[in-house]
């Protein structure tokens, strides 16, 4: 196949790190990851795949690149893992760099393709194996590695210092009190019903979301708390770089914060990958079959609040809105109906998308791809033309994205493809439309 000219992306996380690799190190590392069991499973996959291409049609990268087979799921695995197996691990630094580009920046491990393979070949799992090999070799896109470093030091994604975290919660509590009387963000309240956890970008860039939740919780009369100590961030970039030791450390902190606070459940803010890390990948590495403290995504939480009448809608949001369905909570957890329930409850003019539910396209930001930073932005937004077309077709003005990665990713797509839309978190709409009882209205 003739290689179309590709733009050269400069990323010291790949370019510089491969300089230190030796063929022995590469081979040893590959053999460590591809244990007998994993290698056997891979062989079976390689022999089973009939190259039918059904998975290709599932992948937004493939569809958006005019069906270039290099961007098909099976194409990505062929260029990486299958080649590694064929060559018995005898590959060089350039090859590993290419593996990282494909696995870290051109796949969102969104698992849409796995649904379409008649043999159930799990491409996302295979590409995560590639990431693991790259990570053990120290070859990870710079920006992604930086968030992993942040997680390792601070247990949060954004280098948020301990004082900055508490300070932010305290001023957001005060801000919320300007709207809702006695609004609180109760810190370290042992024995509360709910521990609310968020992701690093909230205190760093979107602090008003913390004020929003304070208003929502107060109006709904919830008994809740947030930890003032590490463990408050539920996000997990090491899960996506392939540094599973730090992934586990971060998840352990999160659940141990819940144990320490003696809460009955964790409610997490609007984030998809954080949900995956906390419900599936993290607990599994730590030997928990299920999250040791029940974990509820914001979409389900808002659904329950509205359904049970704990939050009443005073007047519906008027602008036409549509949704981005985060893979990790819709395909991964089946929250698609709850998401539509809250949208219809809060919005006058909800425009559904097609394809939808578990068949919806990924936003191309998830799986750590957006965290690979500016060098890879162009490839990411170009890699999701189909999403742009899908959103445009709804005619909506607002896209609700109950996931931080989707939020930033969709915003980039809107700008790049000039869709003239805006993104919002559901909580931003909710605080706008919910009824604040008179006795709770701030004077």
């Amino acid at each position: 196949m003739a290689e179309p000219a590709k733009e050269i992306v400069v990323d010291p996380g790949l370019d510089e790190t491969i300089k230190k690799l030796t063929s022995e190190k590469i081979e040893k590392t590959i053999n460590k990851v591809l244990t007998k069991g994993a290698a056997a499973r891979l062989k079976v996959y390689m022999q089973t795949c009939v190259h039918c291409g059904l998975c290709s049609e599932a992948c937004h990268f493939y569809l958006s690149h005019d069906k270039d087979p290099r961007f098909s799921p099976v194409g990505k695995v062929k260029q990486t893992l299958w080649e590694i197996v064929k060559r018995k691990g005898r590959v060089d630094g350039e090859f590993i760099k290419n593996c990282s580009r494909i696995a870290h920046t051109e796949c969102n491990v969104c698992r849409r393709c796995s649904m379409y393979c008649p043999f159930g070949i799990d491409m996302a799992y295979l590409l995560l194996l590639v990431r693991r090999i790259c990570a053990l070799l120290g070859v990870v896109p710079q920006y992604l590695q930086d968030t992993v470093n942040s997680h390792a030091v601070t247990m949060n994604q954004m280098w948020v210092k301990q004082d900055e975290w508490i300070d932010t919660l305290q001023w957001q509590e005060e801000d919320a009190q300007d709207e809702v009387k006695n609004a609180r963000i109760p810190l370290d309240k042992e024995g509360a019903e709910i521990m609310y956890s968020v992701i690093g970008p909230e205190p760093k860039f979107l602090a008003q979301l913390l004020g929003n939740i304070s208003m929502i919780m107060t109006v709904a009369g919830m008994d809740w708390t947030m930890p003032s100590f590490d463990g408050w961030d539920n996000s997990n970039m090491p899960m996506y770089s392939g540094d599973f030791e730090n992934m586990a450390r971060v998840e352990r902190k999160h659940f141990e914060a819940a144990f320490k606070l003696k809460v009955k459940k964790i409610v997490m803010g609007e984030c998809g990958h954080a949900f995956r890390g906390a419900v599936y990948d993290g607990p599994k590495w730590l030997a928990w079959k299920e999250p040791p403290v029940p974990l509820i995504h914001a979409v389900q939480f808002y659904y329950e609040l509205i359904r049970d009448g704990k939050i009443k809608i005073a007047r519906k949001f008027e602008q036409p809105v549509t949704i981005q369905e985060p893979c990790n909570i819709v395909r991964g957890r089946g929250l698609g109906d709850m998401l539509r329930y809250i949208m219809r409850a809060a919005c006058e003019d909800f425009r559904d998308v097609y394809p939808r539910y578990e068949h919806n396209y990924c936003c191309a930001a998830g799986g750590g791809v957006i965290n690979c930073g500016p060098p890879w932005k162009k490839s990411r937004v170009e890699g999701n033309r189909v999403k742009a077309e899908q959103l445009k077709a709804t005619g909506a003005e607002i896209v609700v994205t109950p996931c931080h990665n989707c939020h930033s990713g969709i915003e980039d797509i809107i700008n790049y493809h000039k869709l003239g839309m805006h993104v919002k978190f559901f909580s931003e709409i909710l605080v706008d439309v919910m009824e604040i009882p008179d006795e709770l209205k701030a004077e």
């Binding site: 109760p186 079959k289 299920e290």
Partner: protein, 420 residues
Amino acid sequence: MAELESFDWETKEKLVADINEWRSKFPAIYEFVVSNDGEKISAPVRTEDDEFTACVNGETWENTFEKLWSLKFGYDDRLAGLSRKDDEWTVAVDDETWEESFEYAWNIQLSPDGKSIAVNIKGENGYGIALNGKTWENGFVEARDFAISPNGKFTAAGIQTKRLGEGDIFGFAEGIWTVAVNGKPWERNFLNVWSITFGSDSSTVAAEVRVGEYEYAIAVNGTPWNKVFKCVWEPIFYPQGNDVLAPVQVDEGWTMAKNGELIWDRKFVQTWHQKFSPDGQKIAAVVAPEFGKWTIAIDGSSWNRTFKDAVLPPVFSPDSKRVAAIIKENNRWTVAVDGAPWGEDFDMIWDPVFSPSSDRVAAKAEKEGKFCIVLDGKPGKQAFENLWNPVFSPDGAKLLIRSIEDGKYYRRVVPVEEVY
């Protein structure tokens, strides 16, 4: 147990404070704390003038603040909290504030004897620790968490030794983190340091360290073990001397290591939260013998029964012979003692407490929004609005019960047989 002896074990019931009255006095009352002997209850309150102060047994401090939170009673029953005035933070202790104040102060901790109080601070010199009002001489780019020594005289924290440019993954890989003890950094830097702890002599410090991207060890006074592992968890010191014990991950799974040498034959899918028995002879830890099955292992051999959801850190009896731990199965909480779970389960349960003679176990538990004392697995007859952990009298015959009912805080001394 000198302090226990000094508690009032005679007065059967004291109505210490009527919280309902507080509610009429203050626009807002925040989280309650009670003293160890149960004689005091306190909470940060917001006054009519929109200021914060502490209310103790109905009396407010004279000092008021822009903010007051994280109140804690020490073992000597002094009440300490974090306070902000004129945009500066400091520690308030029994209505007096430290002279020094800071841009920010957080994570208030008390030494085991309650005599020393320390906090993380951010000040003019950067980040550091303040102990009893005195700040480390050296400030750092960042200091996170800290440990306070058993004698209350020293503190140690994880510190960043150099500034790091945005996204500088290569600078980070060189190692810019270490431990500072009383403000003096260890000589060697690491990628990460976590879980700092002091030895019983108060002069030795251990921490988890990441020596390579995928190489973990325990460092003692700055020197890492000469073996590295796939991963490690929190170290603890042996009760005597400077030996250190930590869970480590090897190819076959997790196990326990002393100074880097494996001391348990068995490997587990997970091992953490190790504890020494009071006599220093036994080690208990939370383990997962198989994926999704949790229990306690004592000296490497696990209880027969395993539990599905989770097992929390083990608690030894005073005679070192028994072990109890909180367990969770099917999203219900209870306690298991020596491997046998209590028959009844709860919405939530707090750490089990052994009687001084080691024969009885009590815990605070919650069911349907009410709290009760559970004694040897049987819930007590009384349901409370709020409750604190029960305390056994030195002779084990009575329990100190600190509770709120109908908005009133009571301190009661109840003969053990009258709990049911």
